[in-house]
Symmetry: C2
Subunit: 226 residues, 2 copies
């Protein structure tokens, strides 16, 4: 059976790719990355390096034009500063709205792109690295278990070929993602998480903070920030 | 309230656009068309003409690269002939599979693009012109009521802002779509349905046959084939 994996070059989706390769073999896995207008290209470079490491076919698309009207702080057209605090701290100020780094329906769009590619290439599973820390408090509503199940149903019905979404971490926290990845010897030194595009991760944005905690919880040093 | 309408330049989506403009006013409606690699550009030209007629903001994207691995008979990379028969006749031969003009998860992808644009622009409704004739017998699984409801749920949950899908014709046939459109004085002479890209509609492909029947059922001549 063939599978496609949404790969952002970060910890969660790279671990997902490792799970898919472990189950299906590299020849049966496609890795898919999408540029959506981020302020930097570090994630895409990391996703390419990871695909190269695992020797899987890698596909990339540029969907930046779709997000040009968005005020999301991650996007290059916006000067808005990327918050230098944890998601929990941001949510305290957001009054139930998604955080400023939420990209409008990005994950739903990427899953739909993956569905189109999957059908064309005979894949039966789409791997999606959403995890519980990202959906907590509705920070990223398109990472929740409920959203993922609804999207699974839509893709399953709309594909006409029994396509399914596999989201192995949707009810696990990031520390558990890293735990699974360490068991699978995931090359975390190739991954990139930081929202800023510096030479080294900033260590202060929401995703840097989350990443550090996840490695600490496993008692190991994050090889991505050495 | 603002709304976005998926517009292909055909009968159904143009009627949807008329419904949205009737409800929200032209200033509050965005029309969205996507090129996906069709063998001709007639549909996009029609969608532009319709948006111009209604004086709504029109957005276009080119997502052709996403469908380059597909063997769908509508796409320019495939020599496969577009069937010259009704969907019912095609389904008799397809053994439960979607028809050869099904574009892999196209409508799910377009609805996701619409969701991203809607959130960025403060739209609360996405109009989608799917109707019951297209989903009958699973010809186009991404036109069914069940699919639309699942997609509605995914978009509603994943958007974090209460975004909804309006599919006013999902349980109506094409004749009923045309009936509503005639009441709203839809400029059907501007629309294009035929899968072929000739000077005039071929009159023989699935969508030409469906269109003719829908106008005949309303006792009027189709102004799009004069």
């Amino acid at each position: 059976m063939k599978a496609i994996v949404l790969s952002s070059g970060g910890v969660d989706s790279t671990t997902c790719l490792a799970v898919a390769v472990d189950k299906h073999g590299a020849d049966n896995v496609i890795s898919l990355s999408v540029y959506y207008g981020q302020k930097h290209n570090k994630e895409l470079e990391a996703a390419r390096a990871v695909a190269d490491y695992y020797k899987v076919r890698h596909i990339e698309f540029d969907l930046k034009p779709i997000f040009e009207d968005s005020n999301c702080s991650l996007l290059m057209q916006n000067d808005t500063e990327i918050p230098k605090e944890s998601y929990a701290e941001q949510l305290n100020k957001s009054e139930g709205e998604p955080v400023s780094t939420y990209v409008p329906f990005r994950n739903g769009l990427f899953l739909s792109v993956a569905a189109s590619i999957a059908i064309s290439n005979g894949c039966k599973e789409i791997y999606y690295g959403a995890h519980a820390d990202d959906s907590a408090g509705n920070a990223y509503p398109d990472c929740s278990d409920e959203f993922t199940k609804a999207m699974w149903k839509a893709i399953n019905l709309g594909s006409g070929c029994g396509l399914t979404i596999k989201a192995p971490f949707v009810n696990h926290n990031k520390a558990e993602v890293v735990k699974r990845g360490l068991e699978l010897n995931v090359p975390y030194e190739l991954t990139w998480s930081c929202y800023e595009g510096g030479d080294k991760p900033c260590g202060k944005c929401g995703t840097c903070i989350d990443r550090q905690k996840a490695f600490e919880a496993n008692g190991v040093k994050d090889p991505g920030i050495l």
